[in-house]
Symmetry: C2
Subunit: 435 residues, 2 copies
């Protein structure tokens, strides 16, 4: 394929006209497709239906230590659930608190507590004039929404294939005591699917923040969410690494079973140092008598142990892998060599990240929408929804069935081509055909 | 029985010696009993075991509107759960948000949001020098713990059989704009089991608070938790009453199924005006993608409708009633006429409130503990755990089996008698026998 930039003006205009004609055909199809959110598809949900059978009226609902899961109590979560989540999160069960159904909720509550009560005795952030967070970009919109909601200033940090720019991070956190945290999705990152390199994790664990209440918000959402059996990313375990580096309290690690069992009906947990846990537990004892232990027990009885969970994830991968491969194949077929877009090829997680020519992302997403395909809003992967280059688009291939996904992906590439051709012609000062 | 105050000194001392001898016999029994927390007993938990069967791998887990409860989404809660909770809370389903497993958690989050973001656009409480709450006393320790945790000044308001002192409340909230809320358990109150009179509720709905962000925190924890079929308290519905009074935004109402299905694995909800809901929903959309819809569906399928729930509560009452009646009988048998204690006789809820002679409560609870019976800490029913008269003790009869409850209640009355006799002798300037 010839790069769009090598097209002569007239040639590119002709090409654009034919693309627009194709687009009209798509519009006539009345599509209603969605590649916006990282939602598991129905077949994935079906995988966990056995969850509904493991507890019955004949079950005892007792923990190994005799705790009756049906009654009040056990603030931390039941022992066997802590063990299961600990194996999943690669930490000691003693470092875990089990929460309700959502790790996002834990992150929100963690920020909220820091705002009202500080971190391990520090000044509550609401008493400070300025609180800042570092935000590797592109990143997860719901992370940014939380910090924005609390009026926290967000500083974008560029991502690389090895993780965020560590030179910048090291310099900034050591110089500026108003920087209190950094959002990280360290494995199969949202949206790029990058995993932090060993060196990146080691440098994180050795940060020397000016603020004593600085914490790394390590959202390990995709820790066992591989697409391949034989080609998996490996991430150094951050709690242990922080401990080794003499910074045991530096990190909060979050995870949930949302994309393992049922989204919204899973269990979520935080893993962190004993000092941090003591701080959290004090607050948590004000907030609740305890989270849903029956659901914790349900997860333990269903998965048995981490091996059962890993086997289960293999079945998820079998459903997701063809979807990722389909989208990647179409991107390659339609856009390969055109030099109008760049996309990632993750080995796990839920997203493919696409970068269009600068200034085209909003127009591409809008054009997809007008033909009935909903994408994540352009800009969503940046703080305040503002992508300075207007180029990043998050593709979520998990939810649509394969045949829908193929149509959606083809339409997407068509919109990419149209907006690229328009952009190039405009930049050359050439007239652009009307829609 | 003769009142202790009518005993001559020597007679009372003799009596005390015989009480202490009885106490020694109890100590020899090595008891391990608990009347401290309002926990349902095992037989009550058994009532809900059918909850574990209503969903199975053959179930569809779909809402009537087609929503798949297994996937992400539906911030407010599923429609049919809102209807069930609305019937239970006596409000319109449109006025409901379903949360996770704990109404305490909703209350905490409500206060926390007000601290960080204010109420419907008001100044966040963290930016104010002084925030105060009115606290009807005796009251629920976990309410007071939340306000204490957020540094909110607590002003005790005396309770009467008709509810808290409304003259005081009306005056204070109209004069002091730093008063932002009041904790209420309006039906079968914790710990007294009193229900607010019609007049009290009407006066609540017609409060004219100086603070625009003043709200009534209406914790209707025991709304359908009657002990008797034919002798039930009735409470005027506060949302409707506030609306009628032209104060639609004045109240947050909380409830949960914690003592209906399984404590810790139920569903909880807030009911309030559309203006308040809009405020809450904005914050909630930052905090979570949605609460556990599968558990919401489980509750709907199990109870069917409010009638099913009411029938279920009847079965709870059948278990609880004999326990309340036993404790009341023993209190009457052991303490009737002695004029050394006053106790309530609730028609619902989870507690009996006991008032000893002033200055005796801590000593009574400590003495019970030394003989192996754990009571709620004396003072717990007051802000900061300080009962100025040191007389209120909360009795929770629900958890122990009847035969244990009988022993615990007898021991309790013995400790009441011992401490009363000691107190009277001391006040008379008489020597008190060594333990």
């Amino acid at each position: 394929m010839k790069a769009y930039n090598d097209y002569k003006n007239e040639e590119l205009r002709e090409h654009l006209l034919s693309l627009l004609a194709q687009y009209k055909e798509y519009q006539a199809k009345d599509l209603q497709l969605n590649m916006a959110r990282g939602k598991p598809c129905v077949e994935q949900l079906d995988l966990s239906m056995g969850m509904m059978d493991v507890l019955s009226s004949d079950s005892d609902l007792l923990c190994e230590d005799g705790t009756d899961c049906r009654n009040y109590g056990v603030l931390d979560g039941i022992k066997e659930a802590k063990e299961l989540m600990a194996d999943m999160m690669e930490v000691n069960p003693d470092n875990i608190l089990i929460y309700g159904n959502s790790s996002l909720n834990i992150m929100y509550d963690t920020i909220s507590r820091s705002v009202t009560h500080g971190v391990m005795g520090s000044t509550p952030w609401c008493k400070l004039d300025c609180v800042k967070f570092l935000c590797p970009v592109p990143g997860y919109d719901r992370h940014f929404a939380i910090t924005e909601y609390f009026g926290i200033e967000m500083i974008p940090i560029p991502m690389t294939e090895c993780g965020p720019d560590m030179d910048m991070i090291e310099r900034m956190v050591s110089e500026d005591a108003s920087i209190k945290g950094i959002w990280c999705v360290p494995k199969y990152s949202n949206p790029q699917g990058y995993s932090y390199s060993d060196l990146t994790v080691r440098r994180f664990a050795r940060l020397e923040p000016a603020a004593k209440d600085f914490r790394i918000y390590w959202d390990n959402a995709y820790t066992i969410h591989h697409l391949y059996d034989d080609d998996q990313d490996h991430l150094i375990e951050i709690l242990a690494e922080c401990k080794r580096a003499g910074n045991p309290d530096l990190v909060y690690k979050f995870a949930s079973t949302s994309k393992i069992s049922f989204p919204g009906s899973g269990i979520a947990a935080i893993a962190t140092s004993h000092n941090n846990l003591e701080d959290i537990r004090h607050q948590l004892s004000m907030q609740t008598i305890g989270h849903d232990k029956v659901n914790q027990l349900r997860h333990v009885r269903y998965f048995g142990d981490i091996h059962g969970m890993i086997e289960h994830m293999r079945r998820h991968a079998d459903i997701l892998r063809p979807k990722f491969e389909l989208v990647e194949r179409i991107l390659e077929e339609e856009l390969g060599g055109l030099e109008i877009g760049f996309w990632t090829k993750p080995r796990g997680g839920y997203f493919i990240s696409f970068d269009s020519l600068p200034g085209c992302a909003k127009a591409i997403v809008a054009r997809c929408k007008k033909a009935g395909v909903v994408m994540t809003a352009a800009g969503a992967t940046y703080p305040h929804g503002i992508d300075p280059l207007d180029s990043n688009i998050r593709i979520a291939p998990s939810y649509p069935p394969l045949q829908d996904l193929e149509i959606a992906a083809r339409l997407f590439t068509l919109c990419v081509k149209i907006e690229a051709a328009k952009s190039i012609l405009t930049q050359r000062g050439e007239a652009v055909p009307a829609k």
